[in-house]
Amino acid sequence: MNLILEIALRLLVWLLLPPLLPGLINKVKAWVAGRRGPPVFQLYYDLARLWKKGVVLSNLVSPGFVVGPAVAWVALLGAALLMPLGPAKAALSFQGDVLLVIYLLALARFCTAWAALETGSAFEGMGAAREVSYAVLAEAAIIAGVLSLSVQTGTTSLATMLEPSAGAGAVLLAAGLFIVLLAENCRVPFDDPNTHLELTMIHEAMVLDHSGPPLAVILHGASIKLMFFSVLLTEAVLPVGSLAALAGGVLIVVLGVGLVESLLARLAFRRVPLLLTTAFILCLFALLMAWKGGTA
């Protein structure tokens, strides 16, 4: 009974908190630009509005068009439930759950890309192709990063793996995982969430034809993913002792994303692999340092 209550509580946290992060990023961006910016709760309003709307379905699509976003959302939520929240451990934890998390993220991406291909629109196919081709490189980086944490602590369970700080390679790992966070969540050097030009979109191009509740689910899933990666980055680098420290770390990550987004332009497409390779190499060297025990 207690366990069910606890899981429900965590589910509530993961459902309610994530849409705050994009709002905070937008606030930071507005602050840097000297504007007032949209309210912090804008994404909540958007989600509520989308949820009330109807769905427009092309007569070409199979049920996969609606199932894809739903499965992706559930997969992301599942990954989030496996993520420990500082001193309050994860809802579920077992040896090897980190592999499950990586596969759940991959499943979410697959389902989004699948739903995007359903409509047969050229833009969505293009967006899906870009998303998965960047994901190949980003996944190599995240696997190297997770492996370095795993070697460092000698376990494959996220809860014990993220408990201590990352040791000597912490700076490398932080830089690598931050680049991965930007790439996975389609933030600025990789993709501009504010763009209105289909040719330059990545993630946005995949969801052009979605409307109503499916779009709300996609947007909410994206914010869960953002929070997931922020928590991962914070806990991987710092020994988080309390929930307040965790929240502070996530806020710093959000501030960093906002600043990067304000101060950098997006990269040309052909330069993106270079940056992702850099992230991979940063994580690889963190792995090397964990493996060779600090001195080398």
Binding site: P273, L274, T277, T278, I281, L284, F285, L288, K292, T295, A296
Partner: protein, 212 residues
Amino acid sequence: MNERLNLLIGLAMGLNLLALGSSRLPTVISVLSAQGMVLGLMPLLMEHIDWRVAAVAAATVAGKGFVIPHMLRRAMRAAQIDREIEPVIGYVPSLLLGAGGTIAAVALARMLPLLPEHTGSLLVPGALASVLTGFVLLIGRVKAISQVCGYLILENGVYLFGLLLIHATTMLVEAGILLDVTVGVFVIGIIVDRIQRAFDSLDTRKLTALRE
């Protein structure tokens, strides 16, 4: 002492990768300058400081950190190029080669029968990695100035090897090498200018055909 030295060598290895991954010549030259300064500081950490060590360190920092980069920047300005457009080995492959080389260097140094005082240090892997980086830049770039940068990074690797013998040779050899390298870069600056005038480009692939 060893910890701080390792930190500096790690920094130099990171700068190697930065040089491999960047397409802009000013960035590569700045990387070279920073690496030269880092290398120049190392003798101060390794030996107790008397005036000779301090003088050689100061000369290295000045030479590798300021004089050589300054000459390269002048050559770059004279030749009016600031970018390597199409390298023979692309940036992602050369970055991966450099990273693989660095890891291989670390692994190899573990297997070498080193003196006990050198086992914990990154000197040997750092030297091997810098030499490899220099080779990749020499082979993979087509502009003469990038190749000079590759040669200088290779020389930095040799300098790191030389630091292993610091107790035996008291920096005399390093001082000589530094002088040679400075003169070499000076000459190369003139050659770059000549290539630019004769061929209207610094692409060394155009230098392969011999013609009267």
